[in-house]
């Protein structure tokens, strides 16, 4: 029996653990992953923000990449075909600065054979032209979700920002807009200052905080949101170990994704997948799915 399998809209996953990125193929067999969530695609190529765009913090890091990507055309002609060599579903993250950007990318990228779901990025804190507005005003979030749902060939997950007063309200809005699932949380807005110049370390001034430092925030938000929506949640935010995975599932996530931890340990996804069964034994759990929402059920 596969004790880690998960069934989600559009996604039949070997394991409930998602990985990240092309560079990691040199470390382990990517087919081992439940799915791969690729970096945001926008209609046109983007070079991102000026450097420095990464700054370390205690148990975390700030980034202000600014949605650097080669653009829709190249992602469809090069990146996605490259990934077809691995037996692993892709969740394509899409971004833009106006609704038409989102629908243009969604309509095309959702037709790629290995793209099984879209992740709607309405919560990038590093893009000035509107990215964050989509993720902070419930009505706007609902509208963009609806528009993308209308053109997408695959289920649509919406990535929620923690930088809001009431995340439940946002979750309900995108559920009403037709979202098939949620992914949460995106990074928390943060800033670091240089001791000598007294100015921000990041050229973009502020950035998104990720890593173990934000885990308790993610757990709290998933715990709350999962009790108020009926669509599944893919949890993320500081996951660094098997124990973290279980905690996210207890909070109410149905699956998890690992981002930042890949930077310090490129084998992390592979290790978590290998070590999870042992932890399940220790906790007396037969299947990972039994953990979902245990904290409030």
């Amino acid at each position: 029996m596969n004790r880690l399998s998960v069934e989600l809209p559009g996604l039949s996953l070997k394991t409930g653990c998602f990985g990240f990125g092309r560079e990691y193929s040199q470390f382990y067999e990517l087919s081992k992953l439940g799915a791969i969530m690729i970096k945001a695609t926008t209609p046109e190529p983007r070079f991102g923000n000026p450097t420095p765009r990464v700054a370390e913090t205690a148990a975390g890091m700030l980034n202000a990449i600014g949605l650097q990507n080669p653009g829709l055309k190249k992602v469809i002609s090069e990146e996605l075909p490259w990934l077809t060599q691995y037996d692993v579903p892709v969740i394509a993250n899409i971004a833009g600065s106006k609704i038409e950007d989102y629908t243009a990318v969604a309509a095309q990228i959702s037709q790629a054979p290995n793209v099984r779901a879209l992740e709607l990025n309405i919560s990038c804190p590093n893009v000035k032209e509107g990215g964050l507005a989509f993720g902070t005003i419930p009505e706007v979030a609902k509208e963009v979700t609806k528009a993308v749902k209308a053109v997408s060939k695959v289920p649509v997950y919406v990535k929620l920002s923690p930088n809001v007063t009431d995340i439940v309200e946002m979750a309900k809005a995108v559920e009403a807009g037709g979202a098939d699932g949620l992914t949460m949380i995106n990074t928390l807005l943060g800033m670091r200052l240089d001791l000598r110049t007294a100015k921000p370390v990041l050229a973009n001034r502020s950035g998104g905080l990720s890593g173990p430092a934000i885990k308790p925030v993610a757990i709290r938000m998933i715990h709350e949101v999962s009790q108020h929506v009926s669509i599944p949640i893919i949890g993320m935010g500081g996951i660094n170990s098997c124990e973290d995975v279980i905690e996210f599932l207890y909070a109410g996530a149905s699956a998890v994704a690992i981002g930042t931890a890949n930077f310090s340990d490129p084998f992390i996804c592979s290790k978590v997948i290998d070590e999870l069964p042992e932890l399940l034994d220790e906790l007396g759990i037969d299947h990972l799915s039994e953990c979902i929402g245990r904290s409030w059920r």
Binding site: Q26, F27, E56, T57, A58, A59, G60, M61, G211, P212, N240, T260, F263, S264, D265, P266, F267
Partner: protein, 216 residues
């Protein structure tokens, strides 16, 4: 092939102001087959600092399964690394990056190895390899000040070596580019590693007419 291993500290010593020489041993050394590559070290097994530190490989000893790095301890991570003692272990990921093209220079040729500050260490393994294939190596090494100078004797053991300091407190007063200009020897290739400003100056001056210029 990139590997991940907890390697053992064989020696660690301070060799100049804030500059440390660290030798580690382990199986990972067998994957190190070119000069100029680097490794990623974890400063501790906690979450702060979160990320690994990139440190260049200074020399490789396959027989003893050891490699040596020289790094400057001036941030949180490198300061923690400098406290590691013999027999302690360090989590290493590597080797990473593209090395210097040793094959650019052939037997009997004269090449320049130009390094600046913490860019000097990777040139040492490169110089050993070039020397062993019969290439005549000339080293030009630039440092800020006398207290920052390291490995002068080691480089001098392989070939002609010039030291320049920016403040004139040791060796030639000035920058590595000043030394290159004053050289009477002819050379076919330049290998260089150091601060961006230094590399730009070298590229501007010699990028067009030398047989080969490898900068990193």
């Amino acid at each position: 092939m990139i590997k991940n291993e907890c390697m053992t500290v064989k020696s660690q010593k301070q060799i100049a102001a804030a500059i440390f020489e660290l030798t580690l041993s382990g199986e990972l050394v067998s994957a190190m087959d070119q000069p100029g590559q680097f490794v990623h070290l974890k400063a501790n097994d906690q979450l702060d600092p979160l990320l690994r530190r990139p440190i260049s490989i200074c020399s490789i000893n396959q027989d003893r399964k050891e490699f040596t790095m020289i790094y400057r301890a001036d941030g949180k991570g490198t300061k923690q690394l400098s406290k590691k003692k013999v027999h302690e272990t360090i989590d290493v990921l590597g080797p990473l990056g593209n090395g210097f093209p040793v094959e650019e220079a052939s037997f009997g040729e004269t090449v320049l190895l130009v390094g600046g500050g913490i860019g000097v260490p990777p040139l040492y393994e490169l110089s050993k390899r070039l020397k062993s294939s019969g290439v005549n190596v000339i080293h030009i090494l630039g440092f800020q000040t006398k207290q920052a100078v390291f490995y002068e004797a080691e480089f001098a053991g392989l070939g002609e070596t010039y030291i320049a300091t920016a403040d004139g407190s040791y060796g030639i007063h000035g920058y590595v580019t000043d030394v290159i200009t004053s050289l009477e020897n002819s050379f076919t290739t330049i290998y260089s590693c150091g601060p961006t400003m230094m590399l730009r100056a070298i590229e501007k001056e010699y990028g067009a007419d030398k047989k080969s210029l490898s900068i990193t």
